[in-house]
């Protein structure tokens, strides 16, 4: 496999953050929603409909670097995962750093994947603290999700 040279016009893809915390139920894989687009070159994301999804637009099928960052609120019990889903099905998982009191638990998950037009990817959170735990919003310590087009 050979990567295509980057397009002369620069970055193609999108980069998302969320402005508010989101509650994640105990032992429930939950799609993280994103309401802020730092960049969206080709309409990959909507802040109105299916806000957890990054969808491949027409003419942009190919290989993508998908990456997500999740920061959980302080809580010392259980484990924390970050998961990438493709078209509603699990694709990859990262076991994040150990839960801790007094500080956030965070980490990232990433994968290079070939995506077709209308395929969509999502970032899912999972925790088993025994109760609800927030994932953080905000541009400094909040969650982020992005895709970068690598070539056809």
């Amino acid at each position: 496999m050979k990567w295509q040279a980057p397009a002369a016009s620069g970055f193609v893809g999108c980069s998302l953050t969320k402005s508010a915390n989101q509650s994640i139920s105990n032992v429930t894989n939950t799609a993280i929603t994103f309401d802020t687009e730092l960049e969206d070159t080709d309409g990959f994301h909507s802040t109105v409909t299916n806000t957890s999804r990054i969808t491949i637009p027409a003419g942009k099928a190919g290989f993508y670097l998908i990456s997500g960052q999740i920061n959980y609120a302080s809580n010392a019990t259980g484990v924390r995962h970050g998961n990438i889903y493709k078209n509603g099905s699990h694709l990859s998982v990262a076991w994040l750093s150990g839960a801790a009191n007094g500080d956030w638990t965070g980490g990232s998950v990433s994968q290079i994947v070939e995506l077709a037009v209308n395929d969509y990817v999502e970032l899912f959170a999972y925790q088993n603290s025994g109760g609800n735990v927030n994932v953080n919003g905000g541009t400094t310590y909040g969650c982020a999700f992005q895709v970068q087009y690598l070539g056809a």
């Binding site: 989101q22 139920s25 105990n26 032992v27 429930t28 894989n29 939950t30 799609a31 993280i32 929603t33 299916n50 806000t51 957890s52 259980g78 995962h81 509603g88 998982v93 999972y126 088993n128």
Partner: protein
Amino acid sequence: MSLYDEIIEAYPELTDVDFSRQGTIGLRNDSDGVGDYIEKWDYSKPIPEGLSLGKP
């Protein structure tokens, strides 16, 4: 009462292992307004009355 709590109330012998990725029960929320639902049920006992498999 959360979906997890309802299941635990019916089957208190369940542990976090049962709800892990390798476990027999999977819960999911697509953040589309539907809420939590049972994505996978491979537990040896039936789904508790009043609950169902899949997205409502």
